[in-house]
């Protein structure tokens, strides 16, 4: 339930990141362009969080503790970032 900037300049997502964390996350990423997002301690992520991670293409530090996030969501985010551009759907 927390999003904050660490001393070494990472943006850390911890616990269950809900909709309330979306705006702070967006602000942090906007203000610290190029910063990595560390979500190793993240146990859950709202779709709004994922959407911001996609939009920013911020480098991810993982894998998260949660199996669903690490095995299913992270590969999807990485594939999205690797594609480099949104595909027309």
């Amino acid at each position: 339930m927390s999003v904050h900037l660490t001393e070494d300049g990472r943006i850390a997502l911890e616990g269950d990141s809900g909709l309330d964390d979306a705006e702070p996350l967006l602000l942090l990423i906007s203000a610290n362009s190029g910063a990595s997002v560390d979500w190793r301690d993240c146990t859950g992520a709202h779709a709004a969080i994922l959407q911001i991670l996609m939009a920013s293409r911020a480098p991810l530090i993982g894998p998260p503790q949660n199996v669903y996030l690490s095995d299913v969501v992270e590969p999807a985010l990485r594939r999205y970032n690797e594609r480099g551009f949104p595909r027309a759907v």
């Binding site: 909709l19 979306a22 705006e23 996350l25 967006l26 990423i29 906007s30 859950g44 992520a45 709202h46 779709a47 709004a48 969080i49 994922l50 959407q51 911001i52 996609m54 939009a55 920013s56 669903y68 299913v72 969501v73 590969p75 999807a76 985010l77 594939r79 999205y80 949104p86 595909r87 027309a88 759907v89």
Partner: protein, 728 residues
């Protein structure tokens, strides 16, 4: 069934037909605004009436179709073949639902899931029609499938789910939804349009498109995702192996089969072989009637009682052994008989009937009066005169009544023709050919029974034209023909006959090849074949056992040749004539009587039983000295007017015992069937009568040698013989 539902079914069927024909017309001319409006109105009205009878699933499916059509009407989306295909598919489903409702008046139970998949398909085509360029509808699927290899064999379904953009506000979390998706193995995230630049991103508007692979069946996923948004695409990745899943057998059929099992179990030896054969025949007929050919064949192949009993028990035990649904299931589905359950009749014709009924009532009263006179001991001569007069009036009235009723039973050929536009489209696509169907004279009317029985033979002929007549486009161009072939269905009225032509502009029949194949397959003796004119030789394609298909295609083939066409047309009292123009095409002309109902019969007696012979086939009746009939090989023949005519003992041919010892003179009925003369020896000639011939239906439909039955004045059932089959 309540009146509401009945009215609903009637109207919904008409609207479905209307929408189908509009959509097909639209496919030909996508700019036809009137057809588009008409199709839209039909869908709209159908949706409305589905709502009235509380059939929510149907309303939902139709609503999705209507939405897409509305977008097309507003110029926001183009009309595409895929879209028309989806809309037609939706109508097919509606027609099936209507059929199911017809049974008990209740909306079918499993409709919700089906409606979901229809809605999902339309949602997909809506996304597909969106103004965004590059409508790579399957790109998401291709990407996912690359991932699926690691799970090969387990992945059953792909889904794509586009949450509503305001779903975050409603407290929904699509990420949580998808994490709970049954059987989830691979997830892919996309955005609905670019998410950048970051500064302008609204974190509370959902722009995600989530696709996933799952090991769960599509229906389950659709059901799971339904509450979470309206843009859901579910794709099944495995072939549906389990047919249509309907293994139910009508109760009557089951009862009949069980009765046969009982019959087989009887231990009494007396007449056992007959009992076994009869049980086998009934069981096979039951399966033929249910269109379960594989089961019927299994029954027919059973050799003894135990074998047969086992086969029947196995089949009614469960549908496990059913043949798998053929690949062309959609076409097959449409091909099943479709009878008009309701006739729309001109009010004037009804008024005419009312008048006739009035006259009949007057006559009934007059007869009552005559009966009273007879009771009171009136003069017999005067009474006879009165009765004779009344009989004459009754004769006139029944004739008029018959005429009027037959007039009511007419249907336009449109009823059968209209089903072909759809089928030709599908068959041509399946065969990779470009074919245009032109129908002419759809308004030509014929008896309902004729029109309804025409579908199958016509389907066979059209399939044959598409498979064997129509060339591939490049071959056509090389021959200087337009690349798109034309198949024409034409209806005409000619006197008491209705003509239906099936004409194609394909390659025509290669007569040389037909001669060769016919000789190879022993259809006729080689000398006979070489003596035939080209016209006669081309006609051999109707001969039993002939099929020029070098490869069995999905559509035609399957061992039933054009001989099936000739047989079924003959059963309707018609003839088939073929005109071949090599290189230019083939025309098959079917000539049918206007009505099948009135037949003039000659009653004959053979083996102590009375049988009816169709008068139109009877040439003459002769009484000849028995010694004029000479044995000819295994048969007997007689020379009549310088022609040798084979003689068939009717009682013998029908398996009856001879009632009386042969008299000195033989009574022969000379009949002509398809230009061939034959003589039937009978015991006695009876009267000639006009009858309403009732074609055999249901379980007796396949009985060979019998054209139908009718009731005699004394209440006996008269069996009317099919001479063509008898003399074959």
């Amino acid at each position: 069934m309540n009146e509401f539902i009945e009215q609903f079914l009637l109207e919904a069927r008409e609207l479905t037909e209307q929408a189908t024909s509009d959509l097909l017309a639209l496919e030909d001319s996508p700019t036809d605004k009137e057809r588009l409006d008409s199709a839209f109105r039909a869908f709209h009205t159908l949706k409305g009436s589905a709502g009235i009878v509380d059939f929510a699933a149907m309303a939902r499916a139709l609503h999705a179709a209507e939405d897409v059509l509305a977008r097309v009407r507003a110029g926001k989306a183009p009309i595409t073949t895929a879209l028309i295909g989806e809309a037609l598919g939706c109508l097919d489903q509606v027609a099936q639902w209507l059929d199911q409702m017809q049974v008990d008046g209740e909306p079918p139970a499993k409709a919700e899931a089906v409606a979901d998949s229809i809605v999902a398909r339309f949602a997909a085509s809506a996304a597909h029609d969106a103004p965004t360029p590059l409508p790579t509808e399957t790109a998401w699927l291709d990407d996912l499938l690359v991932r699926a290899e690691a799970f090969s064999g387990k992945v059953r379904t792909a889904v794509r789910y586009t949450p509503a953009s305001d779903c975050f506000f409603r407290g929904e979390d699509p990420a949580a939804v998808i994490s709970a998706l049954p059987g989830l193995v691979v997830l892919d995230l996309e955005s609905n349009g670019p998410l950048e630049p970051l500064g302008s991103l609204d974190p509370f508007a959902c722009r995600l498109v989530i696709s996933a692979l799952s090991t769960a069946p599509g229906e389950e996923l659709a059901q799971f995702l339904r509450p979470h948004g309206d843009e859901i695409v579910v794709r099944s990745l495995i072939e549906q192996a389990d047919g249509d899943g309907d293994g139910a057998m009508p109760a009557t059929a089951r009862t009949l089969l069980e009765a046969q099992l009982g019959l087989l179990a009887e231990s009494e030896e007396d007449g056992r072989p007959g009992r076994v054969a009869a049980a086998g025949r009934v069981a096979a007929n039951v399966f033929h009637h249910l269109r379960r050919t594989a089961d019927a064949e299994r029954i027919e192949q059973s050799v003894d009682a135990e074998d047969l009993a086992r086969a029947i028990a196995a089949i009614i035990g469960g549908p496990a052994d059913r043949e798998p649904a053929p690949a062309a299931a959609s076409a097959e589905l449409v091909a099943t008989a479709q009878e008009a359950r309701v006739l729309r009749v001109d009010v004037e014709r009804i008024d005419g009937l009312v008048k006739l009924v009035g006259e009949l009532t007057v006559l009934k009263n007059a007869l009552g009066h005559a009966a009273g006179q007879a009771r009171d001991g009136a003069d017999a001569t005067a009474l006879a005169a009165t009765l004779k007069d009344q009989h004459a009036r009754l004769t006139r009235l029944t004739a008029a009544l018959q005429q009027s009723v037959l007039g009511i039973r007419v249907l336009p050929l449109r009823h059968v023709f209209q089903r072909f536009s759809r089928l030709v489209r599908e068959m041509a696509a399946a065969g990779g050919k470009s074919v245009r169907l032109v129908t002419e004279g759809e308004a030509t009317e014929a008896d309902k029974a004729i029109v309804e029985s025409l579908f199958e033979p016509l389907l066979h002929m059209v399939r044959n034209a598409l498979d064997h007549g129509v060339e591939p486009a490049h071959e056509r161009e090389a021959a200087g023909k337009p690349p798109t072939a034309t198949v024409r269905l034409r209806g005409m009225r000619e006197g008491d006959h209705v003509l239906v032509d099936v004409e194609d502009d394909g390659r025509g029949i290669d007569v040389g090849r037909v001669r060769r194949m016919a000789a190879e397959r022993g259809v006729a003796a080689p000398e006979a074949i070489s003596a035939m004119s080209d016209e006669e030789a081309a006609d051999l394609i109707f001969a039993p056992g002939f099929s020029t298909a070098s490869e069995v295609t999905n559509a035609s083939g399957r061992g039933v040749g054009m001989d099936a066409v000739r047989t079924s047309i003959r059963r309707l009292g018609g003839t088939v004539h073929l005109s071949n123009r090599p290189g230019l095409g083939v025309r098959v002309r079917v000539t049918l009587p206007f009505t099948v109902m009135m037949t003039r019969l000659m009653i004959v007696e053979a083996g102590g039983e009375a049988f009816g012979l169709p008068m139109e086939a009877v040439v003459e009746t002769v009484k000849v000295a028995r010694d004029r009939i000479a044995p000819l090989g295994a048969m007997r023949a007689i020379v009549l007017r310088d022609r040798t005519v084979p003689v068939l003992d009717l009682a013998e041919a029908l398996g009856e015992a001879r009632a009386a010892p042969p008299s000195a003179d033989a009574i022969l009925v000379v009949v002509a069937v398809e230009g061939q003369l034959g003589a039937l020896e009978v015991d006695r000639l009876g009267e000639r009568i006009d009858v309403m011939l009732k074609p055999m239906d249901g379980l007796l439909a396949g009985m060979p040698g019998v054209a139908g039955t009718t009731l005699l004045g004394d209440g006996r059932v008269l069996i009317v013989l099919d001479l063509a089959e008898l003399l074959r």
